[in-house]
Symmetry: none
Subunit: 400 residues, 2 copies
């Protein structure tokens, strides 16, 4: 639904909407059994819920398109993922709870190993330990650049975030990672006139950094990519008229939620804590985004059984959530991560919506095959929020 | 998928993609048996393949729209058939292997019979024999026009192609066929200022031609329509990053493929030769478009049984193709040609895609009913290439 239309049609109500995103939920059948992770997993609660829900398959971005986490979530929040784009640098920065502002350009950084000729011998600096990396990052904080503040923040192993804060810094700058070894890092280049200052600051940062790191064996160089400014996104609470919260263990998903104006409620303890926080703050919000990462992590590792277990863990927890009696409950995925592929994929994702107003009664299971036959059919993920709003009785009639 | 996005996301791989287009594949059930051509035909190989494939129905252009060969094929190649239009004249010209260039305007020509008052008595000149027609065409080659080269090429029976080659020739010219008898042919009119020269050359051509043909009994007049310039289409190999070949018996389909930048590999001998050429040149290409005409020809003739046989002939040949082990194999149709209608139709067309990454296991057949229930659902033909690219692992992830 177009945001202008959403703002025009939204109406107040006291109903509660819960959107559970099981990261990488969709799967593929193993050739031996012809059963996917969801088909294999024992999910009595999801199956029972499906029987009184509407189910379908969501297309995250478009046919054949494999989404990253950004587009996958944005679509489920109602944002056209072709129109709204969040750069890698910003995702990394919000992923470590860095408080990005409108004058910031963020980039993803990697330590790497350079030989005496400045050629890259290891693009990940031997996956240098997180503690070591954190100390190197502290050293890089000594770097001073003219006209911009410099922030360097550790992430994990060889990865860090660089943020340049200053007036007039564009983000159209090419990355310095050549993607291969045996050559030197690339120079950062401005891809538009408005980004020439950023490019020159970045190159100066790299030159100073290499001096500071020159004594290191492994992490004596670095590469930067994914330059991106803080995106100016329409705000979810205004679009939909919902006081919205995000319950996520991982900072990246809290960060994503924050970019669209949701209130992140940290829940490092996982599902039980997510439930506890939700229960405690039930009256303060109309919308609750619950993020569950284990499905994707297992899928990315190519671990079919562990993904089944992750699904079963969610299923076992589900009755607690039902006890809160949300008016609209959705179980969705931002994309598929079939264990068979050990990667994100383009396959449509099982989706379930339960409310008082469902065409129910025909679903016996919650999985890829059952959702294919569901009343919602195969539909764009970007339509999910309009559906949720309708079932929450939060949309006016369109036209007289 | 938008072509800019396709160019951005495409990544190299060694995978092979084969797209078999069974012309006019879709059908309609006979009222007596309630079975369509595909449902009646005995297709054990297609059925077996369907069991480990994803199937669905493609909508060639749009709901209710019956496509010609041009839009039907363009859509399957990933071109929005509303945006990219190939004129009739160009299709006719490429259909006879005429080497069209950017300064050419092509038109489809028909000989007709005129009475003494110059009124049309037969719009097809009694379907004058191909040999006779070819001689008349030779006579028309004597015609000279100021500022333009004239090419006249025979097609079949009463049909021929006229090509005018010159600077500044527009193609927005009205046809001269009044579509009825008892009236004279229409005058060609420029539909835009840039086409006035073309219109005047066309009218001069017709006047000279009628003098040259005045002694003929049957073919003493002619009509021209479908004026069209060589279309400047984005090129398939660049859009998708695929070295693409076309294996087609009929020139029109080779011509269509050439217009989008595929390399036509003539195979006059039909399926066996198509396979042989494919096998021989397997390493040279990433993409193979195999065209099969017999399904459409039988459908156009209203011959239900012959269409079933044509489908069975393809089915019997299919195992040879499977022996090449393409990474992605598609069986598609450019449109439906139900024998019941003896014409192209708007009905969605059975589609099948086989790869290592299919949600498989539930299809027992390959036909209209089975495809309707398939995992791909009913979807636009223009999305086929994005799907093929995904299954060929030739697309990068979208967004971070």
């Amino acid at each position: 639904m177009d945001f202008e239309l959403a703002k025009r049609l939204q109406k107040p109500n006291t109903t509660k909407i819960v959107l559970c995103i099981l990261d990488g939920l969709g799967g593929l059948p193993r050739h031996e059994t012809l059963r996917s992770e969801l088909e294999k997993a024992d999910v009595p609660n999801l199956d029972r819920l499906a029987a009184r829900s509407e189910v379908g398959l969501t297309v995250p971005v478009g046919t054949g398109i494999t989404p990253g986490s950004g587009p996958g979530h944005l679509a489920l929040f109602g944002y056209d993922p072709y129109r709204f784009d969040i750069g890698r640098g910003v995702l990394e920065a919000v992923g470590i709870d860095f408080d990005l502002g409108p004058n910031d350009v963020a980039a993803r950084g990697n330590f790497c190993t350079l030989d005496r000729g400045r050629n890259i011998t290891d693009r990940r600096a031997g996956r240098v330990a997180t503690e070591v990396s954190a100390k190197l990052v502290e050293r890089l904080r000594e770097i001073r650049l003219p006209g911009a503040q410099v922030f360097v923040e550790p992430v994990r192993e060889h990865r860090f975030v660089l943020v340049l804060r200053g007036e007039g810094l564009g983000d159209e700058v090419s990355g310095t990672d050549p993607q291969v070894t045996g050559v030197p890092p690339l120079e950062a280049k401005a891809l538009s006139p408005g980004s020439s200052m950023t490019a020159s600051l970045v190159n100066s940062f790299i030159a100073q950094a290499e001096k500071l790191l020159s004594g290191e064996d492994q992490a004596n160089g670095l590469m930067l990519r994914g330059f991106a400014k803080y995106p100016d996104l329409p705000q979810f609470p205004e679009i939909w008229g919902l006081r919205a919260s995000a319950l996520a263990v991982y900072p990246m998903y809290r960060g994503l939620a924050k970019l669209v104006g949701m209130t992140p409620l940290p829940c490092p303890g996982g599902l039980d804590e997510q439930l506890e926080v939700m229960r405690r703050r039930w009256d303060e919000f109309d919308f609750f985004f619950v993020h569950y990462k284990k499905t994707d992590a297992a899928g990315e590792d190519g671990d079919f059984e562990r993904k089944c277990h992750a699904i079963e863990e969610f299923d076992a927890w589900l009755p607690n959530l039902l006890d809160l009696h949300p008016d609209v409950l959705m179980v969705a995925g931002d994309h598929s991560t079939p264990a068979l592929m050990a990667a994100h994929s383009w396959h449509p994702v099982p989706f379930l919506l339960q409310s008082h107003y469902c065409r129910e009664g025909n679903n016996e299971h919650f999985n890829e095959q059952a959702c294919l036959k569901g009343s919602l059919g195969t539909f764009p993920a970007v339509d999910v929020m309009a559906l949720a709003m309708a079932h929450a009785m939060r949309l006016e009639k369109y036209g007289a």
